[in-house]
């Protein structure tokens, strides 16, 4: 009952925030596109037809034109949403597992464990994370699966730091002490009592993290370290279009717009969620 | 009889929240004379603190709003004053001290700066004069080595010392009236005794009218001259302190007195008031206390009684006040 009424309150607050609703609409739209891409694309995104190469937008039924291999750009962009979302969700899942685990461990046990993990987090923060990811990609070799690993491995520290702070605060709560006094074990206390109470900042961080991961993937793919041709990754499409940036502008403008709209949508949603879940965090 | 410094007449402060209207203060009237201490007792949510912020005109709006009544201070209605005029009155003619002395002091300024600032805000003094006034006030409230202490920061002081600083600040402009909202609740017993003693001394010295809000009947018995007992936004009993403890007239007052453990005498089982305070959004029909009152009869559920004077200087809001006990 309270859960319901609580989520009602959150939903009400979110609904009031116009920018957040824009973000939510974009995000849901993106999800629908990713899910139904095969059903809605006008052309197969992989079919090469050199006779259709470099059509400008609108020509011969190609809404957003075609690339140098004659593939329909609109279809490729729709399929690209699948890749982007995959990257965002999978990397964030990896990062959440590591981040929550590390953060909870550091916050709950404190002492040496905390010192070590906090040290590790600081080391990660001391380097640009994209540089780290590049180093990992260079070792593992390019490819989408390695992107998941590389981005997951570098993006957990932010989350870990947030979870650590939350746990530090929550473990002093009397209801946690009450369970300890009852004889509850640490694992149960963390999983059942502490983590559910710090879901709000985790959700917000993860939403923003998805955006970050999508951007990083585009960057890595642009550098040739991520998704490999012929995958319709937005970053890769940008990279391919770069050669023609002055003459065939649609090859860079539309993938760029797709990335921008996606990131904007997710960030708006993340910010809105933060304000709705915890009005105090706004200040 | 001394002339009243403040007269509250039929004050109504409501809070307009999503679920409805909370009548936090619903028709409260009382007066306080010079050098007199009026105690306001009641449990959480009875409206005692809202009464005090209403007098200071500090009700958060929205959701709160003073919807009716008069607050006559020196014959003028505070509710008619502009915000600018109120600023001149607050801290100068009417001061307030709060329960939590830690959060009411700014941690980045010395206590001397803070007292001097509140003095300079209202009185035409130089910085130096204001500072020596601060030292003088710290002396008055019994802070040892005041000339040294005046340069210290709030965190360097203990809770009791901070409350003394708050009192010094409140009294620095010689206010006509002091509103004290649970001033000793956060303090230890031995420190509470010090502060209560101090308040009594200062009241006699400055002839200030004090409105003391507390939930502790012990504190009331100790320092109040007259008492208003509040329940669910209304005064249910209003009389002098002797009468209240010896001849309580309202079932709620009687219940409160029976439910506190006595330090002296034998230890019978406590007699608590049954049930819980009703939700302010869902108050009972008729007398607001009827769902917890052991004497409640049919009439109590039909119509709410008025606050009537049952003998000189003793008012009770109960249909059957003459038939209790």
């Amino acid at each position: 009952m309270v859960q319901k009424s609580k989520s009602n309150v959150i939903w009400k607050r979110l609904k009031k925030n116009k920018m957040a609703m824009v973000g939510l609409t974009i995000t849901i739209g993106l999800l629908l596109i990713a899910i139904f891409a095969p059903a809605i694309v006008p052309y197969d995104p992989y079919t090469v037809d050199l006779s259709q190469s470099m059509r400008a937008p609108g020509q011969e039924g190609h809404l957003l034109g075609t690339d140098q291999l004659g593939r329909d750009q609109f279809s490729r962009l729709l399929y690209g949403a699948r890749i982007s979302l995959q990257v965002g969700i999978i990397t964030q899942s990896i990062s959440m597992v590591i981040g929550i685990f590390m953060g909870a461990l550091a916050g709950y046990y404190g002492g040496k464990v905390d010192e070590f993990i906090s040290y590790l987090i600081n080391v990660f923060f001391a380097f640009p994370s994209l540089l780290f990811a590049i180093a990992i990609m260079a070792t593992l070799g390019p490819g989408l699966n390695n992107i998941f690993i590389a981005l997951g491995a570098v993006s957990w520290p932010g989350l870990a730091r947030i979870v650590r702070g939350q746990v530090l605060q929550l473990k002093e709560q009397e209801y946690i002490e009450a369970i300890r006094a009852l004889g509850g074990n640490d694992f149960k206390i963390i999983v059942k009592h502490i983590l559910p109470n710090c879901m709000a900042p985790i959700i917000v961080t993860a939403t923003l993290g998805v955006a970050g991961a999508i951007l990083s993937e585009a960057g890595l793919s642009f550098l040739g370290l991520g998704a490999q041709p012929p995958m319709p990754s937005w970053g890769l499409m940008l990279s391919m279009g770069r050669t023609y940036v002055t003459t065939k502008t649609w090859l860079t403008i539309y993938p760029g717009l797709a990335i921008m709209i996606t990131i904007l949508g997710l960030n708006l949603l993340g910010d809105g969620l933060r304000d709705a879940l915890d009005p105090r965090m706004k200040q | 009889m001394k002339r009243p410094v403040i007269e509250i007449k039929d004050l109504k402060t409501y809070f307009f929240v999503e679920e409805g209207v909370v009548k936090a203060v619903d028709g409260v009237s009382f007066e306080i004379a010079e050098g007199e201490t009026l105690g306001i007792v009641g449990e959480s949510g009875c409206g005692k603190s809202v009464t005090s912020i209403s007098i200071m005109r500090l009700v958060p709006n929205p959701p709160g709003k003073i919807v009716g009544g008069q607050i006559l201070f020196k014959g003028e209605d505070l509710l008619m004053k502009s915000e600018a005029d109120m600023r001149k009155i607050r801290g100068n003619e009417i001061s307030m001290i709060f329960q939590e002395p830690m959060t009411s002091l700014n941690p980045v300024y010395t206590i001397g700066d803070q007292i001097a600032e509140s003095v300079m805000l209202h009185q035409n003094l130089t910085k130096r004069e204001a500072f020596s006034r601060a030292v003088e006030m710290l002396d008055k409230v019994g802070i040892p080595a005041s000339e040294k202490r005046v340069h210290e920061y709030p965190h360097q002081l203990s809770g009791g010392m901070r409350q003394r600083v708050m009192i010094a600040m409140a009294l620095s402009c010689n206010p006509k009236m002091l509103v004290a909202d649970e001033p000793t609740t956060a303090l230890d017993v031995t420190i509470q005794a010090q502060i209560l003693e101090l308040m009594k001394q200062l009241r006699d010295e400055f002839n200030t009218a004090i409105m003391l809000i507390t939930h502790d009947l012990g504190v009331i018995a100790e320092v109040a001259d007259r008492v208003a007992v509040m329940y669910a936004g209304k005064i249910v009993e209003y009389t002098d302190v002797m009468t209240l403890f010896q001849k309580p007239g309202h079932p709620y007052t009687i219940g409160l007195l029976k439910s506190i453990p006595k330090l002296t005498g034998n230890h019978k089982r406590l007699e608590p008031i049954q049930g819980v305070v009703p939700s302010p959004l869902n108050l009972p029909q008729g007398c607001k206390f009827n769902n917890r009152c052991p004497y409640a009869r049919e009439k109590c559920f039909e119509k709410e009684p008025e606050l009537v004077e049952v003998e000189k200087g003793h008012s009770v809001r109960c249909w059957f006040h003459d038939q209790l006990q």
């Binding site: 009952m1 309270v2 859960q3 709560q173 009397e174 209801y175 002490e177 009450a178 369970i179 300890r180 006094a181 009852l182 004889g183 509850g184 074990n185 149960k188 009592h193 559910p196 109470n197 | 449990e43 959480s44 203990s158 809770g159 009791g160 010392m161 230890d188 017993v189 031995t190 420190i191 509470q192 005794a193 010090q194 003693e197 939930h215 502790d216 009947l217 012990g218 504190v219 018995a221 100790e222 302190v241 002797m242 403890f245 219940g255 409160l256 007195l257 439910s259 506190i260 453990p261 006595k262 330090l263 002296t264 230890h267 089982r269 406590l270 608590p272 008031i273 049954q274 819980v276 305070v277």
Partner: protein, 321 residues
């Protein structure tokens, strides 16, 4: 009467770290060598002002905080020697009720699942129906109804939440309950309800209480014996009427005289103590109370007073007694 709990020379120093390398630069002597027994079926009151170490004592006994030194025996068994698992099992017999009924219940769980959890931690009942019946029975025992099990903590008032906390504690059928300021967050009229409930439960279930509070009237009402703490030490302990009628330690005397009495006809000689409680980081030498004591002499500054027995069950730590 049998001693259920024996505490000997219990100490807890919290380290203060500072400096560039986080070395220990001092210690808060929260509890500094206290000894007392709690007898089966009785209520021992533990009073003192904030920072005197009374709440820390409660948590040390339950090993929610690990003591620096000393011994705690429960039913003759040294519980400081238990490992983590044995201690978890031990917790079934030793329970705690907290001060803040708003903070001690997980806001995301229903009342039913909060109490069921206590049963499950100690594997008390297997069958789902049995658990439900037991939860309802427990709620009724503390003056609520079975229907309340489906609700969430925020739907209850402070007094009702404290009842829920008590029901959770009773679920594991403990022998001793440490009540840490259980009524001080409650309104006056509700305090009395909870105090009566605790007394009824003690009678019905044969419970033993260690009742920690700062309110001397409440402590007197509920306790059989009372111990007074000041800055990490017990300064006086006696049967309650003896202690309240014949206080021997100057601190106890001052404390008792400082309580405002809800009767304006009572006029008392007040002992107003000067100054504040000193910091437990560097407590005063000798008798810790000497900085505020109206009778302090030279010896009080130099030597720590030994605990003297001055009557049946009445002990006091003061040079001048």
């Amino acid at each position: 009467m049998k001693k259920l709990l024996e505490v000997k020379d219990l100490k807890k120093y919290f380290p203060i770290k500072g400096g560039l390398f986080g070395r220990q630069i001092g210690a808060v002597k929260a509890v500094d060598g206290i000894s007392f027994d709690v007898r089966e079926g009785e209520t021992l009151g533990l009073v003192g002002e904030s920072g005197c170490g009374k709440s820390t004592t409660g948590r040390l006994i339950l090993r929610l905080i690990d003591p620096t030194s000393g011994s705690v025996k429960f039913g003759g068994k040294d519980i400081l020697a238990l490992d983590k698992n044995q201690m978890r099992k031990m917790r079934k017999d030793m329970q705690i009720i907290f001060q803040d009924p708003y903070a001690s219940l997980n806001p995301r769980m229903t009342v039913g699942s909060i109490i069921t959890e206590a049963l499950e931690i100690h594997n008390l009942l297997k069958n789902k129906n049995d658990k439900e019946t037991r939860v309802h029975q427990l709620l009724e025992q503390v003056g609520l109804t079975g229907a309340h099990a489906r609700r969430y903590p925020h739907e209850f008032s402070g007094g009702q939440r404290q009842r829920i906390g008590i029901a959770r504690v009773l679920a594991v059928d403990p022998k001793i309950i440490i009540a840490d300021e259980p009524v001080s967050a409650l309104d006056v009229s509700i305090q009395a309800q909870v105090i009566n409930l605790l007394q009824d439960l003690q009678q019905d279930l044969g419970l033993t209480f260690l009742f920690i509070a700062h309110d001397l009237s409440v402590v007197k009402h509920i306790s059989n014996r009372v111990a007074v703490m000041y800055l990490g030490n017990i300064v006086e302990m006696a049967e309650k009427n003896e202690l309240y009628n014949n206080p021997r330690h100057p601190y106890t005397q001052a404390l008792l005289s400082a309580i405002p009495i809800a009767d304006p006809t009572v006029k008392r000689e007040r002992i107003i103590l000067q100054g504040d409680v000193p910091s437990p980081i560097n407590p005063p030498s000798g008798c810790r109370f000497h900085t505020r004591c109206p009778y302090a002499r030279d010896i009080c500054k130099k030597e720590e007073p030994v605990v003297k027995t001055i009557g049946e069950d009445h002990i006091v730590a003061c040079h001048l007694v």
